[in-house]
């Protein structure tokens, strides 16, 4: 813009500390991170903090069904967020559902990362035909929307938590593979890799100690956003009836249950799980969005 010279402020902190300070400078992002951690903690503690175990049939009573938020059962239990058609406490069901949603999201992302990174590094490191074959597959997969691929996979595989995780893994891996390959190709041409090769270091060491750490920043950003995406996708699939089974409901399945009662104005069965789901996805996205701003060197001035 202008030709005004402004000297850089000398960096005295370590990169990590600097990064943490930079992250915390954005209050919205900081709040989002805190909320994500609190939500994760709540879901882990669900068996201890939930008013009831919503899947223990001895604890729920069909006579308490469809109570409005704030109503009490006949024996005096308070249902802050109401009950569903089987007399289940919505708050408890949501805490358990959150656990399932987060678990599916995190597990599928972790598996997708493992598969994608392995294939991406393989493609970049070996090049040639292996590279071409893997990348063709990536292109093919990425040219079709995730929802469609997951839907078809589940239509073939059938319901089940494990199958949902598998489908979401297969949906995700291509993103990581492409990112890792792109970054690794750039890094591979750097002098330090040549130096490492001249030292005759073993391949695995070059890959894991030199190549991979340099691909971390974009991977973290994508993986964060993908967790949110996976949670949303799982909820959608469950709503469509091809996701998690009715015995282990996620937030999406809870909403789906409530959908039946919407036309009769019984809003709470789908409103509250939906709000929790939105809140979960939103806060993860906010964290990912801010991470992207921080880790994208192009935006740094």
């Amino acid at each position: 813009m202008s030709d005004v010279a402004i000297e850089a402020i000398p960096a005295v902190e370590t990169p990590l500390r600097r990064f943490i300070a930079d992250y915390c400078a954005n209050r919205l992002a900081l709040a989002a991170l805190v909320v994500v951690l609190v939500l994760a903690l709540l879901s882990l503690l669900a068996p201890w903090i939930a008013p009831q175990n919503p899947y223990d049939l001895t604890q729920i009573s069909i006579f308490d069904n469809m109570l409005k938020p704030g109503e009490r059962s006949m024996d005096g239990n308070l249902f802050v967020l109401g009950t569903d058609e089987q007399g289940r406490d919505m708050l408890s069901a949501m805490l358990y559902g959150l656990k399932m949603s987060l678990f599916v999201g995190a597990a599928s992302t972790a598996m997708g990362l493992a598969v994608g990174v392995s294939l991406g590094v393989t493609a970049a490191y070996f090049g040639g035909r292996i590279d071409a074959a893997i990348m063709r597959l990536v292109d093919l997969q990425l040219s079709f929307p995730a929802i469609l691929i997951a839907l078809i996979l589940l239509a073939v595989l059938g319901k089940g938590v494990d199958k949902v995780i598998l489908a979401l893994t297969l949906v995700q891996w291509a993103y990581y593979a492409r990112t890792v390959r792109g970054n690794a190709l750039v890094e591979r041409r750097r002098e330090y890799i040549e130096a490492a090769q001249c030292l005759a270091l073993p391949r695995s060491r070059i890959i894991f100690r030199h190549l991979l750490p340099n691909c971390m920043a974009p991977l973290i950003v994508i993986a964060t956003v993908q967790v949110a995406h996976a949670i949303s996708l799982e909820a959608t699939l469950s709503f469509l009836g091809v996701g998690v089974p009715i015995t282990e409901p996620s937030l999406g399945l809870l909403i789906s249950n409530g959908y039946k009662y919407i036309l009769s104005g019984k809003y709470w069965v789908s409103l509250f799980p939906g709000l929790l789901l939105l809140f979960t996805i939103l806060t993860i996205n906010l964290v990912g969005d801010h991470l992207r701003d921080l880790l994208n060197p192009r935006l740094k001035t």
């Binding site: 813009m1 202008s2 030709d3 005004v4 010279a5 402004i6 000297e7 402020i9």
Partner: protein
């Protein structure tokens, strides 16, 4: 009669988190009709910001903080955006450094030329187009009619700069600000462009402010020279006098570092150090830390502007003897 352009005490400041950057700090000069002023300085000296200030194109966080810019006696500082818009392109035109970047890549040349005419005059498309074709012909672009329908990327760098010049001349402006328009071009093309601008300015009588870091470019082109350093003009005068008998040690240093003034085989003369940060200027003369002739008083107060010789101005406590 007043000069075409009179700049007096111009101050342009950028408010940043680290402090206020005085990119232009009390700059004064004037250019008459048909005259060329060479505004010379290193990057960071404030010469580009000076040019942009005259166009009213300083972007936030920058702003004109003081002084006056008069075009044919009419004050421009304090104009609102609407007022500036009637001046820009019509009274004052600007040619930018990199012709690869100044033309919009997705719009055809005729679109970009016709809109420049229609921004100021209410003329029909075909009339405007005919004028654009003539303008392209005037700047030496072959088969202008066909080139009008082309996209910028179909032109070479030199040809694009000719298009930019043609656009600048569409309204026969009183003043042209040329911000290093030849820096990005090959040497042979540079000479052609300079000759072209000289010829066209002579024809139309426009005044020119030629901003550059290259003394060699302006030496054969400008009537007067103004040398900028750290946001101020440190020396100003007729080109021939400034070049042959520089008064400021910085001007002398610039001249000495031109390869043409150095005997073969010996290392090039250079000015030690680099331009100071405008955020942390030394209390005295900003050039003092790099100056070979620096004395005690130079580091205490800023040298004021003084008359020097017949027709020259200088900001230096200890002007070089040779010029006296």
């Amino acid at each position: 009669m007043s000069a075409t352009l009179e700049v007096a005490g111009l101050e342009t400041h950028f408010v940043t988190r680290a402090g206020v950057v005085k990119a232009v700090d009390g700059v004064s000069f004037s250019v008459d009709r048909g005259q060329v002023l060479g505004l010379v300085g290193e990057s960071g000296s404030g010469k580009t910001v000076t040019g942009l200030s005259i166009m009213g194109l300083v972007d936030a966080p920058g702003r004109i903080a003081g002084g006056s810019i008069k075009l044919a006696g009419k004050e421009l500082v304090g104009l609102d955006e609407r007022g500036w818009r009637t001046i820009r392109g019509r009274k004052i035109a600007m040619i930018f450094q990199d012709p690869m970047m100044t033309l919009n890549p997705v719009l055809r040349v005729d679109t970009q030329m016709i809109e420049a005419i229609q921004a100021h005059e209410d003329v029909a498309n075909d009339v405007a187009r005919a004028r654009c074709r003539d303008a392209l012909g005037r700047v030496g672009i072959p088969s202008p009619e066909e080139r009008l329908s082309a996209y910028p990327h179909q032109f070479s760098g030199g040809m694009r700069q000719r298009v930019a010049i043609a656009i600048a001349l569409l309204h026969n402006p009183d003043l042209i600000i040329a911000d290093e328009p030849t820096t990005a071009l090959d040497v042979t093309i540079q000479a052609q462009i300079i000759a072209q601008v000289q010829k066209l300015a002579a024809e139309t009588g426009a005044a020119i402010v030629w901003v550059t870091h290259d003394l060699a470019v302006v030496s054969g082109l400008s009537d007067r020279l103004a040398v900028m350093y750290a946001g101020r003009i440190i020396e100003e005068g007729p080109t021939a006098e400034v070049l042959t008998r520089p008064g400021h040690p910085y001007t002398a240093g610039l001249l000495a570092s031109l390869p043409i003034n150095n005997p073969r085989g010996r290392p090039l003369n250079q000015i030690p150090g680099s331009t100071p940060s405008l955020l942390r200027l030394p209390p005295g003369c900003p050039f003092a830390p790099r100056c070979g002739a620096c004395q005690d008083d130079c580091t205490v107060t800023r040298p004021p502007e003084t008359r020097f010789g017949m027709d020259r101005r200088l900001r230096c406590f200890h002007p070089l003897e040779a010029s006296a």
